[in-house]
Amino acid sequence: MDFYSEKVMQHMRKPRNVGEIKKADGVGRVGNPVCGDVMFLYIKVKKNRIVDVKFKTMGCGAAIATSSMITELAKGKTVEEALKITREDVADSLGGLPPVKLHCSNLAADALHAAIQDYLSKREAAGSAKKKARR
């Protein structure tokens, strides 16, 4: 398959959850401009649940569509559930991607996982800071 699915085109033309979360609990930044794709993914977490996700992406149609799709997949999920979202889930939810564009779904999944890792390490740091304070 060399062309984009209708679902990819829909997400490309009307991407969901575009933007930035000012006080995000986690931020994932992946890609580089040399390859043509960069994704920033922001998450807001409440009671271990991802209550808001936003993205900013510079890249091809697939990069934008996969960014949009991963925000939809992650929203409302618990942190543990979201960590289980795979690269394949992103591509499958979009009705597939042309083989040369599969790396974009990798990038989107990586961005989400990076944002969650960022959240977890911040929480851990905050946790140990609290413990220290108590002592």
């Binding site: 390859c35 960069v38 040369v100 990038l107």
Partner: protein
């Protein structure tokens, strides 16, 4: 409204061309090699077409070989020319179309030495660097005009340099023939290729000019058609269409090229008014009259093309052939653009149906699409992207 601004990819068949072709699909179906009257009728049509095709480039009809298209003709010129010359070194420009680059790469795989002619920032072969690269070459191949950025090459000078080295000179004129004057004698080339579907003829037919006295070897073997350089039953209907397309192109060229150059400059001006945009390739006489290529900072080219597609505007990132690849344009890289700059290019190529209204519409929608994509982009125009790397570009 749909606006087609991708004429460098292909053009619609002109109705006058189609009318000429039609009988050769049905009533006049003969094989041009047959002795009987069906065959003679087809042969006559092929030879009339050959005269028309030859005239477009100032060649004589017996110097024209019909092929299945530009790519095959380029392969025949490069592989067949190099082999007949018992070549050791092949030279082409760094901005050739894959139809030339790939046969050159193939020759390298077969043991030949390969060298690339560098280009300047406008995408024009550097004549100062050329003599050293051409030194010892058996065949030199440089395109007349580049398909991505429309830069017109100094073919006359390069052909002379090649001949001084005793090398054959081949020119891929697929983008220039029918758009600017192409005269094989004035250019001084040995081999030259052009294609039907870029000039309102049908797909599936192209021509190779082989200067009288120049020897090349065939790459297709069979019944010995086309001076034994391209075996296979002639594609009569398409050859007839190609002939008519050449006739029309030659007739309309002076007026049409002026008209297109004005529209090109109008479109360029409007696109360059968009913040964070810059031109790729030269301006004025050094550029094809129908080519516009502009980059936009902080956005990627394909996403602009898809955005424009949503408005009914057909454009391209560079070439239709590379839109399936991930690598940034080899042409823009050869021109010294950094990879992160080479991803954001947008090409419009104008043609017979293009109007000022369409051009204005395309410029306005481009501004809109770029603005929308920039809202989405983590970067803004002017950001230095060269130092940014968040890694993780997993395959």
């Amino acid at each position: 409204m749909t606006v087609y601004l991708d004429h460098a990819a292909t053009t619609p068949v002109d109705s006058r061309v189609l009318d000429e072709m039609k009988p050769f699909f049905s009533r006049k179906f003969g094989n041009a090699s047959s002795l009987h009257f069906f065959g003679r009728e087809a042969r006559e049509a092929v030879e009339v077409a050959r005269e028309r095709v030859a005239r477009l480039v100032g060649a004589s009809p017996d110097e024209i070989v019909f092929t299945s298209g530009g790519t095959e003709a380029d392969n025949l010129a490069v592989l067949g020319g190099f082999e007949a010359a018992h070549g050791k070194k092949i030279v082409c420009s760094a901005i050739e179309h894959p139809a030339v680059l790939e046969p050159c790469n193939e020759l390298e795989r077969r043991g030949a030495q390969k060298a690339l002619l560098p280009v300047d920032g406008e995408g024009i072969v550097d004549l100062n660097a050329a003599p050293e690269v051409i030194c010892g070459a058996s065949l030199v191949s440089v395109m007349h005009a580049n398909n991505e950025v429309g830069s017109i090459q100094p073919i006359k000078e390069l052909a002379r340099m090649a001949h001084e080295q005793g090398a054959l000179f081949h020119c891929d004129a697929v983008q220039s023939a029918g758009k600017i004057a192409v005269d094989v004698r004035k250019l001084g080339v040995d081999l030259l290729v052009f294609s039907s579907h870029k000039i309102y003829g049908p797909k599936g037919v192209g021509a190779l000019y082989v200067r009288e006295g120049v020897k090349i070897n065939p790459i297709v073997f069979g019944g010995g058609q086309e001076h034994a350089l391209r075996s296979g039953t002639e594609n009569v209907a398409c050859i007839v269409g190609f002939g008519m397309a050449c006739e029309l192109a030659l007739r309309e060229l002076p007026r049409e090229s002026k008209r297109l150059a004005l529209l090109r400059d109008r479109l360029l001006k409007k696109l360059l008014e968009i913040k964070g945009s810059f031109l790729n390739g030269p301006v004025g006489e050094k550029r094809l009259p129908n080519n516009v290529n502009v980059s936009f900072e902080a956005v990627e080219g394909e996403s602009i093309v898809l955005g424009l597609d949503g408005f009914g505007i057909a454009a391209s990132t560079g070439s239709a052939c590379s839109s399936r690849k991930l690598q940034p344009s080899h042409v823009l890289l050869a021109m010294g653009r950094r990879p992160e700059e080479a991803h954001g290019s947008l090409r419009f190529t104008l043609g017979r149906s293009t109007t000022a209204k369409q051009v204005d519409f395309a410029a306005a929608k481009t501004a809109k699409v770029v603005e929308r994509l920039r809202v989405m982009s983590p970067f803004k125009p002017g950001d230095d992207l060269s130092k940014i790397d968040f890694g993780g570009h997993a395959e």
